[in-house]
Every structure is written in C-alpha cells, then in structure tokens.
Amino acid sequence: MSMAAEERSARAPWALTAPALMLFVGVLLIPLAMTVMLSFHDWGQYKGIEPVFILKNWHEIATDPYYAEMFWRTFRIAILTTLLTALLGAPEAYILNRMSGRWKSFFLLVILGPLLISVVARTLGWALLFGGNNGLVNKLLMSLGAIRSPIPFMFTETGMVVALAHVMMPFMVLSVWAALQRLDPQIENAAMSLGASPATIIRRIIMPQIMPGVLSGAIIVFSLSASAFATPAIIGGRRLKVAATLAYDEFLNTLNWPLGAAVATLLLVALVLIVVGSNALIERRYAEVFR
C-alpha cells in the first residue's frame, strides 16, 4: 500500500465520525464544561453573575447541612424506587415470559405502552387519585368512612417513590425480560428432571441467571430516578425537593445560576461514580459466567 493511501485510510474513520463527533462536542461537552465552569463563578442578589474563580458555591454545598440532607433524600428515594421496581418488575417479567403467545404480546404491550405516554401525564394520574381531599381514591375512602383524613401521598417521600417506581417499571421489566430470553428453554425441565421443586428452580436456577438483568435494570432505574425531574416536581413540588428540582429552582427562581450549576455538577459526578462503580462490580462478579 502506498504512503498516501495509508494516510488516507488512517484518516477515513475520523472524517466519517466527524459529524457525530461535532454534534456530541457541540451539544453535550461544551455545555457541560460551561456548567462546571459556571459552578465556580460568583453570584450576588444585585450584582448578578461575576465570572471569577471562587469556591463559594462548593463551600456552601459542603458545609450547609440542607444540601447534605437533600442529596441524601435524592439517593434514598432512588434506592427505594430501584428496590421496588426490582421486587415487582422481576417477577412480572418472569410471569410474562411464561404466558402463552397471544397473552404474552398483549401484556407486553400493556407494560411497555406507558412509555408512549408523557411522564407528566403518568405522574399527574397519581396526583388525581391521591391529591389531598380532592383525590379520587381519598374521596371515595373517606366517604366510605374507611379513613378519616386523606392518605398522605402528595409532598411525601413515599408518594414520590411509588410514582417514580410506576414510571420506571418498564425499564426494569424490559431488562429482566432480555435476560430471560437468554435462558435455555429446557433449563427448567432439566432442573425438574433432577428432582428440583418449583421454588428451588426459581431460587437456584432462574434467579442467578436473571440477576445480571435485574442489576443492569437497577442501574438504569437508579440513575433515571436520582436525576428525575418531572415526577419529583409534581409530587414533591417546592416543599419536598430533590437534587434535580433544587437545581431547577436555583436556575429559574432564585436566578443563582452558579449555585444551581454546582448542584447539577455534583449530582452528575455522584451518579457517574455510582453507576461506573457498580457496573464494574457487577461485571467482575459475573465475569466467570457471562462472557
């Protein structure tokens, strides 16, 4: 091969990926870098944003317990949401997988259908059912005399976890479903012929094999829940804030962009660390079995 051709072939991949690379740099990396930079700028009620380099915002986040509590709440909600989706989603996917042809596709559609509906609409549904005295369910139960005061749902962490779990469920079901598709269709028969009871088959044969699916689903659900905005905004409002709604408030209500940027950056860094770390752990744990 001639030198020129060699050079051309070495350059070709770069030239071919250039448009996508430029888009990536333009709409993701540059704004991200600017947000990080913004978090080191100063801000005052009257002077606005001052492009200087100070650690004021980071110092405030590190020392004010308000932020610690808020981040802790964010991750607590994300963890509980993840647990709830795993506990409900994994059996759901398993049952779905055992259904016969027609029912299977019908219920798969039922589970995945909500993905086509806006998160806002799905969350508002919960608000309509449980929102204070006017919530449909609350009203019904109170008029039946089953409860004296409305079930606390709006502005509670429980409410947020339930609504988030509902929104995130399809991701968990899909992830476990994908793992179930990789199972040998005869594996349960094999275990049964060796004398295993149905419970043993699920515990010893099925669960270990779909665990990677559950865990990757958990990573997706966790990161989406921790950074979710719409659902916490509707259920928690400004009374029960999480990291995403706090950053939003700093940006658009207080207009303290640098502080909002610091919160957003911290959330991003924490999430990346958690996701990358747990991914590495999972891969190490299951390397022997699933290449």
Binding site: D184, I187, N189, A190, S193, G195, T200, V289, F290, R291
Partner: protein, 346 residues
C-alpha cells in the same frame, strides 16, 4: 418382562395428532433408538416419558407401575437435552452435583460421586470449569454425567450428539455405547441419524408421522424393512417394479429380464427392494447402462439406468476392473438379498 412399557400412547396438540398408537416394551438394560425424520414426534414421545408432556391417551408403565401419575421431579429419570440445558452459572461439578443435592446426598458422598461421574465421561480435572468455557463435546459430557450421576432408572437422550461435528460425534457414539454397556442403564436415544441409531442400539424404533413403522434390531430393520418408508429411510435402496407370474408350472418373480422363483404368499404386482451393495454385475439379469461412476475410496458408486428405472450399485474397491461409464451391464442379486412387498397398481 418389560421394564419400561408404552401402551398405545397418543398425543394431540389441539386437533393435530402428533403421536398415535405408540406401543413399545423396553427390556431392562436395553438400548433403544427412536429414529425418524424431523417432526415425526420423537421428542414428543420422549417428553411424555419424561413427564414434561401428558399423553392424551394410553399408559406408560415403569416396572409395572403407572408412570404418568408420578410428578416429573419424582420419576428419577436421567435426561440429556439437545441443547444440553446445563446451568451456566454453576461449574461442571456443581451442575453434576445438583441432582444429588436434591436427593439430600451427604456432602462427602456427593463430592465422591461427582468426581467419579466426571471421570467416567473423561472430564477429570474439569470440575471448576463453567459450561460457557467448555467446548460443545465437553458440555455434552457434563450433561451426560449430570444425568447419570443420579443413577436413573432410564436414561433419555434427545439428539445429544447432533450439535457436534462429525468426528467428535463418532467418538462420543463409541464412548456413549461403552458407558451404557458398563453401567447397564436402560437407554432411549432420539435421533434422526440412521448411522447413529444402527451403531448404538439393540433395537431401533423407526417412526414416521407419529406412528411406528417398524421395531427391530438394526440388522432386521436394514435387511428386512417392513415398509417402503423404512427401506428408503435406512440407507440407500433400489425399488424395482416386478410381477409374480403363477401361470407357469413353477411360479416366477419377474422384473424385466431378471427372474427368480416366486416367494410364497404374494401374487400379482409387487415391489422388489435390493440394497445397492447386494447387486452384482453378471452375465444375466436386469439390463442396464452405467450413467455415472463415482470413486469413493473404499468403494465405487454406480448410477445406472435399468429397464426397470434408475438403480444404484455399490461395489467394494477390491482392485478388480470395474465397468466404465456408458457400458452396458446386467444387474443381478441373490433372492435372499431382496425384500418383496405387494404393490398397489394404479
């Protein structure tokens, strides 16, 4: 007395009858093959014995006791699946130990039996390997060890060798037969490979479209096929249209210019089946012309056009001169080398 007995077993999926009127009795220690083309119901029959499917009609008995009433987990049969169905998250040893664990065998005995089972299939030293890190042949051996370690009353094998390449398959056939001879487990093998069925089994059950065509030793099914299907399915065969002529003093069987004394019991139009390796070139017999001649190492394959239609002849390569392409020859065979069946005349 029959050890395992299938009595007029049938299976329907909806309106479709997949297995019909299947009766078979298997002796203790016998090696039986279910042989038939794809979709003829071999797997379905095996799964009914295993208990994964319930027969629509008929009974399955093991040592005289009704097997269909026993839950599959309690039947104590060893099964090797076509896909092996090994547990990918367990090591080879854990896979083999699983059945023993379910039987509450003590840890020490378990380790000992697992070691012995893996050694028997030639996998000593592979205890801690995961299935995904093993070759197809090794996985197949683990599956066999896992089925055998529980000392099953019957071993059921569903095309266990079909995923292996030709050479490995032959090795495993020999090994499988040796293991089965040594431990004497009653075995049923499902296969659509006639060579496999012939080389392994004591008796072959030839199936077609859910029905039994013939049950017999490999030799019987090959040399005395009970139907046209069996003779076509088991190796190559030549079918010649012939007539039995009882007008003369001595009744004659006539096919073209070939004739022989007529066998008893048949009359009129018949079909004569002769294996290609039983036909010789001679001075008398069916007139034919050699169309192609193919050299295959230890034998020659001749495709001929005879007066009774196309014919295949196989001759050992014994160093003798062989007829050339285009040459006119006469085909003949000994009466004991053919089978004669009545033929429906259209």
């Amino acid at each position: 007395m029959a050890y395992l007995e299938l009595d007029r077993v049938a299976k329907q999926f909806g309106a479709q009858t997949v297995v019909d009127d299947f009766s078979l009795s298997v002796g203790k220690g016998e090696f039986i093959s279910f042989l038939g083309p794809s979709g003829c119901g071999k797997t379905t029959t095996l799964q009914m014995i295993a208990g994964f499917l319930d027969p629509t009609r008929g009974a399955i008995r093991l040592e005289g006791k009704d097997l269909t009433a026993v839950h599959p987990a309690k039947r104590g049969l060893g099964i090797v699946f076509q896909s092996y169905a090994l547990f990918p998250h367990m090591t080879a040893a854990e896979n083999v130990a699983f059945g023993l664990e379910m039987r509450n065998v003590s840890r020490n005995e378990r380790t000992e039996r697992v070691r012995a089972a893996l050694a028997m299939v030639g996998l000593a030293g592979y205890e801690d390997r995961h299935p995904r890190r093993m070759s197809g042949g090794q996985q197949q051996r683990v599956a066999l060890a896992r089925a055998l370690v529980i000392k099953p009353s019957v071993l059921l094998l569903d095309e266990p060798l079909s995923n292996l390449d030709a050479k490995l398959r032959e090795e495993m056939q020999i090994e499988l037969r040796q293991i089965q001879r040594t431990i004497g487990t009653t075995t049923i093998l499902v296969t659509h490979d006639q060579n496999e069925a012939m080389s392994l089994s004591d008796r072959i059950v030839v199936m077609s479209q859910g029905k039994i065509e013939q049950i017999g030793t490999p030799q019987e099914t090959y040399e005395k096929p009970a139907s046209a299907f069996v003779s076509q399915f088991l190796g190559k065969t030549n079918d010649f249209a012939a007539m039995i002529d009882r007008t003369a003093a001595a009744a004659k069987l006539v096919a073209g210019s070939w004739s022989a004394p007529a066998p008893a019991g048949l009359n009129g139009a018949v079909t004569v089946s002769v294996r290609p390796e039983r036909i010789g070139f001679g001075d008398a017999g069916l007139t034919a012309k050699i169309v192609t001649r193919i050299f295959q190492g230890n034998h020659w394959l001749f495709q001929c056009e005879s007066e009774c239609g196309p014919a295949i002849v196989i001759r050992q390569n014994d160093g003798q001169a062989q007829p050339a392409e285009g040459e006119a020859v006469r085909l003949s065979w000994r009466p004991e080398d053919m089978s004669v069946r009545a033929r429906a005349v259209a």
